[in-house]
């Protein structure tokens, strides 16, 4: 699609889409244009020369195939992967495939969660068959139309490379020539899907479809959105989380160049200006008195002291196998340790932002979000408009990591636009982004185990003290899971009930993920959770609970191996006897690292493994410690089994990406609170891994014909234990809190 193909009528609609190689596609919907506002969002744009086979596939007369992508592209490569899966069954010419982002529509809901969003490494796993069927039925429709056109039997025709071929006559016709020959035909159902050995695209390392626009500066992220008449806003949130505004004096700010407005909104104080530079420069001139919040006493130092006391007592049991108590009472070989995990910020490179244009009859939103439905929902709540009056355009995301599954920034932009009666682009400063995140929760972990005379664990207790992400976050997204037709008051009631009761009902259930059940065969296991939520805002952070739990589990397994004088690799292999897929990747990674040979000069090895939603992964890290007690990670080996590897090159890239993300939390940064305020504020005191700190990574993807599982998060949780276990091998010191600091040990 090119700009000049958009006819005048369609110019009335503001539209933002991504087409590989052609950059931004934009039409204009000016505020007050009721036609646009009344237009149902469930009608994606179709060009005159385009044939829409189904919700996922459009083909034009030139044979260009546009795949509609229902998941946010935040770097993980989903736009290429969905396109590959559709193209595979469509028998498409891959060089003619491009993608665009889906609007909000029921058909694009995540089948597992019932809400249109991108979370939990679940996109391909949950929708793989859906996309294959979409491709296969469209292919069959094209074959039917060709057979009818030629007047031949459909059984004599096949499709390949965007062409239908009539075998007996060898005549061919391209998909583009067939799009006006489908009249009266309906999409065939129950079309046979390919066997893995028939795949031509899936399983090959296919280059990303979004590279070109990301290397010439034309890719449109949220911060790049431009809307006619748009003003720019930034926001100041209460420094102590949860504090309200007592008084605001913006007189000085309002005299500054370009400042249009300063207003109080639900979550803070917004400054509206002609440019972001003007808006952010006015922040220091604001005189805001915040109300005293009880949270002003919250400090992470005190919190860990409290959790240590709480952890000395029994918690609520969330997973149990066998009975640990008699074993602990009768055995003398007991090993105990505690592990502390800090709060973590997402620190996406693109700060939180959203552009909104609210009129009496409609609302348009352009936003880098992982939660399109949530964006529509919060806008509906704030404006009082119906869901179908709210259009959400998803831009590229400058990372997401789960932060963008929450939509607070969308609500802010919508509220500002409504109040100033103009389109507005809200961009948070980096400081606001770091200090007003929904953090990976901190936890205190109490570990206790017994080992037998062979060094095998016989009983295992893991007690987690802290808050549960789902208890805080689910009420925020629950209304998006309800049908659009649900009256607003019922949605509000459900949200309010969820806030009151849901935490008590669900706290702990998902907080123990990767702590129980364990992949290891241990006869007696008990996993407890002590719910103590200090109110610090928490959210989903790439890999969620396992990012913390795996550190405790995989380091403690190492401690047990040392206590029982067992090789940590061999002990894992023995305990994984009933889990052949994970056992295989552990063997593989040891082979890659030459486990039984001495490591390269001056380095020491650590190993860690886990099963993340049926993706199996193991790392071996080669680490050294220098004279300044600094930990350096030189090389990491990885073996991973994620079922069918849709795009093996991208799987390798995701593993390395997750490893780098986890390594920042392992050796560099954390979030701490003092007097209710976050102590960090930018990349100077929340440093992110740089190139000279990046280890060499070798990834082996296990060949498989099992359905694909997830890959975006699995590489995060086990890098910290792999490195910590290597530090133990190097120094004999067990580091039991993150980030790893030898000078404090």
């Amino acid at each position: 699609m090119k700009k000049n193909n958009i006819d005048q009528k369609r110019r009335d609609f503001l539209k933002l889409g991504f087409v590989a190689g052609s950059g931004l596609l934009i039409g204009i919907h000016l505020p007050g244009c009721t036609e646009a506002a009344n237009q149902s969002v469930s009608t994606p744009e179709i060009q005159d020369d385009e044939f829409k086979a189904n919700a996922w596939i459009k083909i034009n007369s030139d044979g260009m195939i546009t795949v509609t992508v229902s998941h946010s592209e935040m770097g993980q490569g989903i736009s290429t992967a969905i396109s590959m899966i559709v193209a595979e069954e469509l028998e498409a010419d891959w060089s003619k495939v491009r993608f665009e982002m889906a609007p909000v529509e029921d058909v694009y809901k995540h089948p597992k969660y019932g809400i249109q969003w991108t979370v939990s490494s679940m996109s391909i796993h949950a929708s793989w068959d859906l996309w294959r069927k979409a491709g296969a039925s469209a292919r069959q429709l094209l074959i039917l139309s060709a057979a009818r056109f030629w007047g031949v039997s459909v059984n004599e025709c096949l499709a390949e490379n965007s062409t239908v071929i009539h075998k007996p006559s060898s005549q061919t016709i391209n998909y583009g020539e067939l799009i006006d020959k489908t009249d009266g035909l309906s999409l065939p159902e129950n079309v046979r899907l390919k066997r893995p050995d028939e795949f031509k695209i899936i399983g090959k390392s296919v280059l990303r479809l979004d590279s070109h626009e990301k290397i010439d500066g034309s890719a449109v992220f949220g911060t790049d959105v431009k809307v006619p008449g748009m003003l720019i806003a930034t926001i100041v949130h209460p420094p102590v989380f949860g504090a309200g505004i007592k008084s605001l004096d913006a007189r000085e700010a309002l005299t500054m160049p370009g400042i249009k407005n300063v207003l109080t909104i639900e979550t803070g104080v917004a400054i509206v200006a002609e440019t972001f530079w003007q808006a952010s420069s006015a922040i220091p001139s604001l005189n805001i008195e915040w109300e005293k919040s009880d949270n002003r006493h919250v400090s992470t130092r005190q919190l860990f002291k409290r959790w240590k006391k709480l952890g000395a007592k029994e918690g609520k049991v969330f997973f149990e196998e066998g009975d640990v108590k008699p074993v602990f009472e009768s055995t003398s070989r007991v090993v105990e340790a505690t592990y502390d995990l800090p709060y973590q910020a997402h620190a996406t490179p693109e700060p939180m932002n959203c552009t909104a244009s609210v009129t009496k009859t409609g609302c348009e939103i352009w936003v880098p979000t992982q939660n399109q439905k949530g964006a529509q929902e919060i806008a509906a709540r704030i404006t009082g408009l119906d869901n179908e009056q709210i259009r959400v355009h998803t831009t590229f995301l400058g990372c997401g990591f789960g932060r963008r599954a929450l939509v607070d920034y969308v609500g802010e932009a919508v509220e500002i636009s409504r109040k100033i009666n103009a389109p507005v682009k809200l961009i948070w400063t980096r400081e606001e982004d770091i200090q007003h995140d929904f953090y990976r929760p901190a936890t205190h972990n109490v570990m206790k185990a017994t080992i037998d005379s062979h060094g095998r664990p016989t009983a295992w207790l893991h007690r987690i003290v802290g808050a549960d992400v789902f208890a805080q976050a689910m009420p925020k997204v629950i209304s998006g899971m309800m049908p659009d037709s649900t009256p607003r008051f019922l949605k509000n009631m459900a949200t309010s009930l969820a806030e009151t009761f849901l935490p008590r009902i669900i706290a702990g259930k998902k907080a123990i993920k990767s702590a129980g059940p364990l992949p290891y065969r241990i006869p007696n296991v008990q996993v407890e959770f002590i719910n103590d939520d200090p109110g610090i805002p928490i959210g989903w952070w790439r890999s969620v609970a396992p990012s913390a739990n795996c550190f405790a589990v995989e380091c403690f397994i190492d401690e047990l191996a040392a206590a029982g004088k067992r090789d940590p690799y061999e002990l894992r292999i023995e305990l994984l006897g009933a889990n052949p897929r994970l056992q295989h990747v552990v063997r593989k990674v040891a082979e890659m690292a030459n486990w039984y040979e001495p490591p390269p000069n001056g380095t020491h090895r650590g190993i860690a493994a886990h099963d993340f939603q049926s993706t199996m992964m193991a790392y071996v890290a080669e680490v050294s410690v220098n004279d300044f007690n600094e930990i350096m990670v030189h090389r990491v080996f990885c073996a991973v089994d994620c079922g069918i590897a849709v795009n093996p090159g991208n799987i390798e890239a995701q593993v390395i990406s997750a490893l780098a993300f986890g390594l920042t939390a392992t050796i560099k940064s954390s979030i701490t609170f003092r007097e209710g305020k976050v102590e960090q504020g930018n990349f100077d005191d929340f440093p992110v891994l740089r190139m000279d700190e990046m280890p060499r990574v070798e990834v082996f993807v296990v060949p498989s014909n099992n359905p694909p599982t997830g890959i975006g998060e699995v590489g995060v949780p086990i890098i910290a234990p792999a490195v910590a276990n290597a530090v133990y091998a190097a120094t004999g010191k067990r580091l039991r809190s993150l980030p790893l600091r030898l000078d404090e040990a």
Partner: protein, 155 residues
């Protein structure tokens, strides 16, 4: 009124002289490939080339950017840039892409003076630009690939 030379064009911009170059490029001139991420010269997302050297534009007042040659990602052209872009695609470097303009500009500065950089040279030159996606290993490979292509062309 500051007068700037950007991507070969002369542009007069009507902003106070202390405005950081980043915001002149990004907001006044619409060169949005130059990104805001930290605003304190820590992350490198706002990198541009000034007289061929990488400079973090969020910390540079526009008044100090007069009389020099400024190149942004939109104006990065020539044999080195072509070799780098080809290598970036071939090595499938990008992920979210937010920092990639800055990575490419920094790599272009490196390769304009060093056709055969070692891993250490690359690390030293590239460590000013944070990539939260962790594409560093692919960037190293792509720079080696581009350098090889440039050396081959020069033979």
């Amino acid at each position: 009124m500051p007068r700037l030379r950007i991507n070969g064009d002369v542009r007069d911009v009507n902003v106070p002289p202390d405005t950081p170059l980043l915001w002149v490029l990004n907001e006044q001139l619409g060169l949005t490939g130059t990104k805001y991420s930290c605003g304190i010269s820590e992350c490198g997302a706002c990198t541009v080339l000034i007289n061929g050297e990488p400079v973090l534009s969020c910390g540079l007042p526009v008044s100090e950017a007069e009389g020099v040659d400024i190149v942004t990602i939109e104006g990065l052209h020539g044999p080195v840039a072509d070799a780098l872009r080809n290598a970036w695609i071939a090595e499938d470097v990008v992920q979210c892409g937010y920092c990639q303009p800055a990575q490419l500009l920094t790599a272009a500065a490196l390769l304009s003076t060093n056709f055969n950089p070692s891993d250490e040279d690359i690390d030293a030159a590239m460590s000013d630009v944070i990539c939260r996606c962790g594409t560093y290993q692919a960037i190293r490979k792509a720079i080696h690939r581009a350098a090889g292509e440039i050396r081959h062309e020069k033979k």
